[in-house]
Symmetry: C2
Subunit: 453 residues, 2 copies
């Protein structure tokens, strides 16, 4: 019997699920995608590089266009906003349209930017960077040549936008409430990022909470105020992070976890709702080390989860066993600020202690490749191991060229449950243009072994 | 009671062992190193970069000088060649010197270049690249501005030397008996290396065995002959690989494996000889996937093995349990030819089949980072999985900037026994300047999953 899957949201998780469903379900099954915006399958992470000019157009960030999805037989309905889900009736209501019934539903509504209720935050000249439309608006704003740009927040989006703005010659200030930028890494490493920001001409106000925005007579932002400072601004970018866009799910009574993320099982099935799956930035995800459900909105998880949801739905349709499951994450993240590369995986010191580990932390300095090769640069690796099990539980890297991707060895080792002793004995690649005879991750692991005695 | 450890060989494995022993043994224990050459602890792998001029001097390749080792309390005896070992009497004979008695012995004699008995091979103008002295001789030879350089062999040393020679403006020919250069990778990938070599102006004669060298009246090489060709040459570099330098061990009755490598246990103890350890390029090592004992001379293994040998000796001295063991290798290797990066780990197709695996092989093309970023270049990943266990058993990479080090994820995954399904779900780093949303290794793993059905 012909059935209908409805997917709410047409970006990474939603379109990955829809595409896999279209490939694997019989032709008479409908796959409908409701997307409230005007783009599908785009790389939100690429927006800063479009702002900087390194990427030429919004189209370049679109992995697969609406037309391509339609040609693949997916019933993509653009500009259609889902307004309510009725899990009993199995219907989705849409703004200004008829209700749509479903046999199975995938919620992939993504995340939405944090926008605190500060005075003046809705003034003209204040931008988010969540969607391609946001990106275009910001590009248009920058085209008016603002004299002073203020970026609020120094997470990786804030940093990337700040880099793009200085690269384009704008006077740029970053205001952040933390002591050091990039809270994904420990403050000691964040200080290196702070130094690089200042060296590139960014004014960095740390430990400073924004208290409001002063608007001029035309309603345009003119000053950003903090407890101690007033910073002139005629363009403001908000980079305060995101929360799950899960109001639809909440209203339908679905269970929510951290930052409003929908709680799902390892097949992305919504707990307590056999006909509903959720994937991507709108869900919480298991930390493989701690078991905790956390909200980590990243395209890499969204793609995998969309694939897993589709697999589970296909199994459900055919009455077979699902073939894959989403095992959770280890909090891997990577970014760069100008030439400085930054990465982390696993737990930080505080996270490890909170989760009941007995962490030992070491920090080593080495070079990104053999020290005698031209261009060798400083690289810092911080590593955490659990004292009782000797397991590797975290690593962070800040350094020059070719530093950051080395985090993948640690991410793989953590997922596999390796000890620091195992890491020391891994057969990692060695040649002078790439590495010293001990890979930087192994130099850190040796230091951790020494620290554990 | 004061005891004496004698180490034969003062490079990576020998000096790593000696240094660790000196740190961990009581002061009244002697640590004696016999080195027949004039350098200690140097990076032989760095020699090609010295030849090219990227590294300024031989000294730059020395990690720790003789003086530094002496200052650390190691009794390094330079220019002293061990000529025989008597395991019964526990003595080492030296050329022109007295016998030296030992309580425990470490053999770290390294490897020696393959030098087939071809007519004219000992003519003037023919060089090896095994030691720093070899490197200096080759630099002196190149200073005489030869018109035609011929490199025999296209392993990674041959390739690196050929690159150095064209970089310095010499007319350079590489002669190799294989169908494609770099036998560490499959021929399909080797063809990409061949194309890059030709694009850089190297003449490559593949599938061509050297039959001899014609010398001029002064005894200097003038022509290299193969079955089908005669190639003019006034300087020849031999890059035909190495075998273990284990005549001493053989004469003493020690058990030898592939390419003359000494057979040791996982504590680097020589089988059947409780007082003798061996480490580095002179031993055979266990392949972690197949259990086979193979000869893989690389500084990274030598350092680890030297450390393991020292740990075992210290345990033996104190009557305690050793703390570490050498688990074997997964055949990881990495190199580059000009801008082309090349890496492998695990088994090739033939090796996998020979070892009794039922391999499925896939090959994918992707880009080294997000395809929409400027400078994204082609990257090929070949991957092998075992059909019955679904384990990842091999990976090979050829591609542009930042391609090759990704092999470390595969090397870690193989060591940890991960399946290709596990690899697909790893939480690897994602950001546009580094990677597409699926890491290249995961793109290949997904293809392998698809191929396995």
């Amino acid at each position: 019997m012909s059935q209908r899957v409805v997917v709410i949201g047409g970006d990474a998780a939603g379109m990955t699920a829809a595409s896999a469903l279209r490939r694997k379900l019989p032709k008479d099954h409908e796959v409908v995608v409701l997307e409230r915006g005007s783009w599908t399958s785009y790389s939100a992470c690429g927006i800063p590089y479009w702002i900087s000019g390194e990427v030429g157009s919004a189209e370049a960030l679109v992995a697969r266009s609406v037309e391509a999805h339609l040609a693949n037989g997916i019933d993509v309905r653009m500009g259609v906003e889902a307004t309510a889900i009725d899990p009993e009736a199995r219907t989705v209501s849409t703004r200004g349209g008829a209700d749509l019934s479903y046999d199975r539903l995938v919620i992939a509504t993504g995340a939405e930017p944090v926008r605190p209720a500060l005075p003046g935050i809705d003034g003209e000249g204040t931008y988010g960077v969540q969607t391609l439309d946001d990106g275009q608006a910001l590009i248009d704003g920058l085209a008016e040549k603002p004299e002073h740009v203020v970026v609020v927040g120094s997470g990786y989006v804030g940093l990337e936008i700040a880099e793009a703005c200085v690269a384009r010659g704008f006077d740029t200030t970053v205001i952040d409430r933390s002591k050091a930028p990039l809270s994904i890494i420990e403050p000691e490493l964040g200080e290196q990022v702070a130094a690089a920001m200042r060296a590139h001409g960014i004014r960095l106000l740390s430990d400073a909470s924004v208290t409001g925005f002063t608007l001029d007579h035309s309603g345009r932002v003119s000053v950003v105020t903090t407890k101690d400072d007033s910073v002139h601004a005629d363009l403001v970018v908000l980079g305060l992070g995101v929360t799950a866009r899960s109001k639809l799910a909440a209203d339908a009574g679905l269970l929510l976890g951290a930052k409003g993320g929908i709680v799902v099982d390892e097949h992305q099935r919504v707990i307590g709702h056999d006909d509903i799956w959720a994937a991507g930035d709108c869900v919480v995800t298991k930390d493989r080390l701690t078991g905790e459900l956390i909200h980590v909105p990243l395209g890499t998880h969204a793609n995998k989860q969309g694939m897993v949801a589709a697999d589970s739905i296909v199994a459900d349709v055919f009455g077979s066993d699902p073939r894959i499951r989403f095992p959770g994450i280890v909090r891997t993240a990577i970014t760069k600020f100008c030439a400085l590369e930054i990465a982390r995986t696993g737990l930080g010191e505080r996270q490890a202690a909170d989760a009941g580990f007995d962490p030992v932390t070491v920090s080593i300095e080495t070079t990104n490749f053999a020290g005698y090769m031209p261009g060798a640069e400083k690289m810092t690796v911080m590593m955490l191991a659990d004292r009782s099990t000797r397991r590797l539980i975290g690593a962070q890297i800040v350094g020059g060229e070719d530093s950051a991707l080395r985090i993948d060895v640690a991410a793989t080792a953590i997922a596999a449950g390796l000890t620091i002793d195992d890491v020391v004995m891994l057969d990692l690649a060695y040649a002078p243009p790439y590495s010293s005879v001990w890979s930087p991750i192994q130099v850190a692991a040796r230091a951790a072994v020494k620290a554990l005695g």
